[in-house]
Amino acid sequence: MLSEMGDDAKLLAGGQSLIPLMKLRLANPNHLIDLNFVPDAAYIKEDGGSLRFGALTRHAAIEKSSVAAGIPMIHDCAVGIADVQIRNRGTIGGSLAEADPSGDWAAVLLTQKTEVNCLSPRGERTVPLADFISDAYTTVLERDELVREVVVKSPEKGSGGAYLAFKRSAPVYPTASAAVHLAMQGDFCKDAAIVLGCVGLVPVKAIGAEMELRGKKIDDNVVNAAMEAVRAAVDPQSDMRGSAEYKRTLAAGLVKRAIALAIRRAHGERVEVSHIYA
């Protein structure tokens, strides 16, 4: 259908971003193709060391899924997206395909080994999430292609992660968010992945901050160096959510908290984490 209707057609998943955008006439498609009646497109499965999410899986289903909570950071994310009503409609596939710079899922899943299975009339292809989002609101999806499934490899034992998003109120996008995943051996950090949301045109992978942690014993000095690296890596815009300088400081602070949570989880502790409100 997408290939027949051409550029004027849009896919409608949960609709919690697209419908508001259409009301503002920021999106003005001639055709909408509603995916919500596609059977078997919403599921959460554990399969050979990976979690598989059907593209139409609602945030609320992920929030309530004990399978999805196998990667606690995924639960952190799902439980705090917007509000109950939006989580009941919004989908993980829609969120990734929209590629909003303030979206939650991309930041979280970029710290994991995540692949996006895409489907078009030419067949299926698998794109690593790191290659999937090419710019703000832009993905590598062809115009007749859709997201079929999101596959997240389960992280190794002895690792842990946390996702913290700071919001002014529930229904709005965060001001800044931080996803941190650490592989630990005692106090020693074997590997680190740090991704920031809302502070660039795409989620920002803080490579410098990861390097500050990797191969080191985590103490205050190391964390402070990582925070400095975060401040250097992000490129926030001043807007009604806050000044660029405020967001830089906020992102670094969120990373500090997320590191502490990730370490506790890596050491096997169960910690409840959710989005933070102003």
């Binding site: 609709g15 001639n30 919500n36 609320a60 109950v84 009503q85």
Partner: protein, 162 residues
């Protein structure tokens, strides 16, 4: 953009009653409820997916009816504030909002009561943190949240007893 749209025939249940309607695909669910079915208890507040005044229950889950097309509710079961009352008797959620003075201007109240409905269906003993999460998508611009919390606590308590 075409000026007119072919209408689509849909069937749905609202408050236990079967309805059929012939709607343009662009019609929002809240407009169907209010304009076509004259169920004006569901309000339009912000029309930007923020305020939750348009909250209704669809197949057991609350949604913002300003952020769904009516055609997407084809085959669905909807509960609006008008469906809470049974045979002239107010629902315990409605009673508790009245008794606790959990409203001031009342504009957000229908949405809040539907959010309470899903909360209490899933959690019979909600703590304040649970209530906060459950109504995070409902804005009361009179800011009367203290009494709204009281009302929800009372509703949960009365429904446990019922």
């Amino acid at each position: 953009m075409p000026e007119t749209f072919d209408k689509v025939q849909i069937q749905l249940k609202v408050n236990g009653k079967s309805y059929s309607a012939s709607v343009e695909p662009r019609l929002l669910l809240v407009e169907l409820l209010r304009e076509d079915f004259n169920l004006t208890g569901t309000h339009v507040g912000c029309d930007t997916t923020y305020c939750g005044a348009c909250t209704v229950l669809m197949n057991g889950a609350i949604v913002k009816s300003c952020t769904m097309f009516a055609v997407q509710a084809d085959g669905a079961e909807i509960l609006t504030v008008e469906g809470l009352e049974r045979d002239g008797v107010l629902h315990p959620i409605q009673k508790s909002f009245g008794e606790s003075y959990g409203l001031q201007c009342g504009y957000c109240t229908p949405g809040l009561m539907l959010s309470t409905y899903q909360l209490v269906a899933e959690n019979q003993e909600p703590q304040d943190a649970d209530i906060r999460k459950a109504i995070a998508g409902n804005t009361c611009r009179c800011t009367g949240y203290q009494n709204i919390f009281k009302a929800i606590r009372l509703a949960a308590q009365n429904m446990r007893g019922a």
